[in-house]
Symmetry: D2
Subunit: 358 residues, 4 copies
């Protein structure tokens, strides 16, 4: 495959294959790409159980009343299928994502993945489009390794993306030195069927396997740099406790931070409100106007009220107060299957296309 | 009223008046005192709206299928009624509790109160029976001030009690220097009607008015001492974020602590497992065998599974891990209307009776 | 006020006052009227507590992240305010709606009301725009009585509207003779604060005051006619049991019907699928393309998946099976605060404007 | 095995094997048999995944803080294990229950089963102990067929048991002619993991596979008789709609009935309040004092408040009103995993022991 450019208005859209199309995040991919100006879903890939069925038959569609009609009749392909779409978005489960994504990248596909397998790869960008687009430099190294024009760009865990959006402007302006975070995560973060009802009716589960480690390692990689041919993680610790609460969508996080430079609350709020990145400069189709929204009400953000801010593409911050132990504390909320997953991949794909990386 | 002693087996029980009897905590008082070996509910006090009605008619009974038959027919008295019961337990709302409790104490009643009004009083014990029974020394000062045999002993906010039970043995053994806590609190903590359904179906509210301040001030008072005629609060800071989650009963808290003395995880667990107080030594009727329970499973404690441990009278701890920023982190859960409210007052009353303070 | 016509594209919109603007349905009015081609919210009325405040300060906004900016700054007026807007939509609570609406109608305002007070009035249309637009004939009588160009058109209870949409085509085609219905109603039907969380976490409440009677009387009035200067209710009985379940929005109803003419399942489905009314013929701005949607899946309709079908303006039917006792049974779902309340009033207002009744 | 008698007080208890021990109902069996005067759990059987593990390791214990200590260490046996316990209680899933139960019955075990496989068997009692203990006559036929002292007694589906308890006294006194029922069923009815959280947070699912058919066929068998060597089902139709709601435990049912004999509401209530069966006459250990409880409050029964009435062994009835189409309507609630499952089997086993059928 050769280089790919933004299609002209009215021109033919770029084909996209969705890996893991029947899952909760796969459904969001399909929903968010409906009517996209640049991309069109052309291929669907899922596990053996679904192969050969029409998508409408294979998927237990959850995210809206109806499957977009263009997609409902597409046949589901298997994990080993050869694909035609140049762009591939992936929300495969981690037990299969690693190999499938590697093969497709070697075959020349541009992969934008939610799967965790390649996130910590030595030449694989772990990218939040507003935060570390410069990590795309690693693609040269990666393409050389793969011997292909294809590549893999990952985005982080949903909890990490929600957190790193407000941390990034603080880190740039004041230097983050330590973060203690407790998350209250939504059921959709575990996919479908995911968490049994008997675990979440009148209950909280104070543990999510692997999640706390990801918050530490992914935050450090995202807020670090690419220097001398390798990623240099940001050196500060993140201490996380991750819990599951009876909410459909939207992860809430209670955060305390220590900053290198002393800063006032107004300065923090200004850093958030003024935060802009390449997606905003390029006016990308899925870019939120503000990637960080600050709410003044004392009881916000709340998942039910705030998760759809900026069409689900923003982190919503509130309750900024001094922390008597570290420096500041606040609450942040993000839509875990939009900004925290499918929307993040799509925004990365848009950025890659607009920046000419494809 | 003169001094009161533990009634002999089969002897006449000590009369108890319940203030705020129709509320969520008032109902727990009535439920927990059913069949109590020493105490019997004889009088019920509630707001004007209920006065003169039979209790069964006035209360929207929530905590079990039926109101205990001895209580169902009792008439509800008003806030200004003169009472006959020597012992008074109170869960009045704070807009009226202050004056009513003060008046009754002056009239000679022994008050055990959940209301927040007198908790920080200069001569009022804020007591968790296993933690700071020595604060009863303040009663001499208080009785002198009141000119009465009556007194007020308060217990803390539900979130604080849940937290202070596992903090106390750590503080004694290793010295607590700092605490960062995020709570996930149950709906019953706001009473009835309390939190609207539209705020808690598929939602979390990351704010509870006044709660964060109470966690700081009450923890310090409880873990401090009474010296030279006044309370000396423990000097460490508590940084709290309090949230409301869709759970009926049981507050979950994610806690990070810094300790003065270095300690291993096994030492912390041993401190919790060996923790005993006067209620256990005296084998009080409502005393849990263990006031702190440690669960080994990685996904515990959970409100639905663990809140009724020790009949709702224990704090249940789990997930002890090193905190890379402070020293240790863990999750603790307590039943907010039992150990965190009505049960705490009753245990204080039992302690007072057994120790001869009445 | 004189007769009002549909404003030309780009022309000045017709001013609307929202009564009960801070409540759950009032918020839906404001949300649904944002960007409306014919109407613009100009005045807000609420109870004393809110009067004089800016709307953003008075309302606990629940239905989306932010209040529409044009409305956020409007001052809240009191129940006795004189209004300038010719069109008034009302979701006042029934303890005040009756008098306020009567006064405003006499003053010339065209009222479209959700309140129950005037629904059974002898000359007041109880109108579902697709079902009984011919009841508008009663406006002549009503206007004469009021001595004004103003009038009141009501829409039904949310549960009734959801039910009557699929009943209407069955009644026309086959004659409904009896209906037994059990509803599973959402929390928002009780407004805000409405149902306490302690009544709906891990619980169902099998009673909603007044609701069962309304289902009987309102269904009969809507499916009846206006003849000889009075309403003639449809003669069949409706036996209802109404319950409240832990759902935010969307009433689900389990329905059994007896029909006069024998009909096959396919004929019932055809009657639903072919059902069109004046809103569809006139292509009104808020008209659903299909007021009754039929789902083929065996486990639909579901509130979370189906309530937003047709932007919340349709009744969604599924699970049609023979009933061995009556004739047929099915499940129907409708969005209670959109089609069941605010959307129904707005659609009535659009119909009135398009038909020249204003 | 020879005949088994009630053990004397202090004598050795009768060993019980629990089939399907790790599931939601299996856990209830273990919980309810803790401290039982006649029976003791000695063997546990579950699917391959659990075989060889200690129970505490194999089960995800949900129903209380801790597994009874006598059971926690028992090894889990496989489906093909030979068992020593004379009494076997079963909550195996239906894909394996049929064969396993048949084999064990042939080997001489007395089986009390929740599984649906044998419920409609031509010589297998489908028994609710208060309702149709006379169906035990079929055991002669069954034992002859099996060539063994062993047998299978089943109890019904949880929804059916809840319904049949209040129907039985009405049928005896007045003759039931038709029943229309809509159920609102709890998540635990689907076992663990069972229903995904994403299907029940802010949602209702109006379909439960196979449930509606069971309500019809099982009710007819239970309320019919055993005559001339075969079961004669009661001839009336039951028209059911079964839905799943966000409740942990407790099925609520909205019921309309037609009766042969005209009866007043007071007569119905009297029939329920006076309803007694063999379990009450024999004062069996698990027998509720009243198998049907009538609540007078207009908003009861509710799952959270009423499911534990009579330790979960009663059907709780409320809201009796005339039905304008059939004759009467009411709401009934039962605990689906206690009276609707494990408790029903245990009560049948107690009855069998006390009546000398073992």
């Amino acid at each position: 495959m050769s280089s790919i450019a933004v299609p002209p208005a009215g021109g033919e859209k770029i084909g996209v294959a969705v890996l893991g199309a029947t899952g909760a995040v796969g459904q969001r991919f399909i929903q968010l790409l409906e009517g996209h100006p640049w991309f069109a879903v052309r291929e669907l890939v899922a596990s053996d159980r679904s192969v050969g069925k029409a998508y409408a038959e294979a998927a237990n569609w959850l995210v809206s009343p109806d499957i977009p009609p263009d997609v409902a009749g597409l046949p589901v392909k298997g994990l080993d299928a050869r694909l035609e779409s140049p762009v591939v978005v992936s929300s495969l489960p981690s037990d299969v994502a690693g190999n499938v994504e590697s093969r497709l990248a070697k075959e020349g596909h541009r992969i934008f993945s939610n799967a965790s397998n390649h996130r910590m790869g030595a030449d694989v960008p772990l990218m939040v489009a507003e935060v570390n687009p410069d990590h795309a430099e690693a693609l040269h190294t990666q393409r050389k390794r793969l011997g292909s024009e294809g590549f893999i760009i990952t985005n982080g865990n949903c909890t990490t993306i929600t957190l790193v959006l407000p941390l990034a402007p603080l880190h740039r302006a004041f230097g983050v030195e330590a973060v203690i975070v407790t998350s209250l995560q939504a059921a959709s973060g575990a996919g479908y069927p995911g968490v049994p009802s008997l675990d979440l009716i009148d209950n909280v589960v104070p543990y999510i396997g692997g999640e706390e480690e990801k918050l530490q390692s992914e935050t450090a990689k995202m807020l670090g740099g690419w220097q001398g041919g390798q990623f240099r993680p940001a050196p500060f610790p993140v201490s996380a406790t991750c819990t599951r609460v009876p909410v459909r969508d939207g992860h809430t996080e209670s955060v305390s931070v220590r900053l290198r430079a002393k800063a006032s609350g107004d300065e923090l709020i200004a850093a958030w409100r003024e935060f802009r990145g390449r997606p905003q400069e390029l006016n990308l189709p899925s870019a939120p106007k503000h990637a960080v929204i600050v709410r003044d009400e004392q009881d916000r953000p709340q998942p039910n009220r705030d998760r759809m801010a900026e069409h689900g593409m923003a982190s919503v911050v509130g309750r900024l107060r001094p922390c008597p132990i570290l420096d500041w504390k606040f609450v942040v909320l993000g839509h875990n299957t939009i900004r925290g997953a499918a929307g993040a991949s799509i925004l990365n794909a848009e950025l890659a296309l607009a920046e000419g990386w494809l």
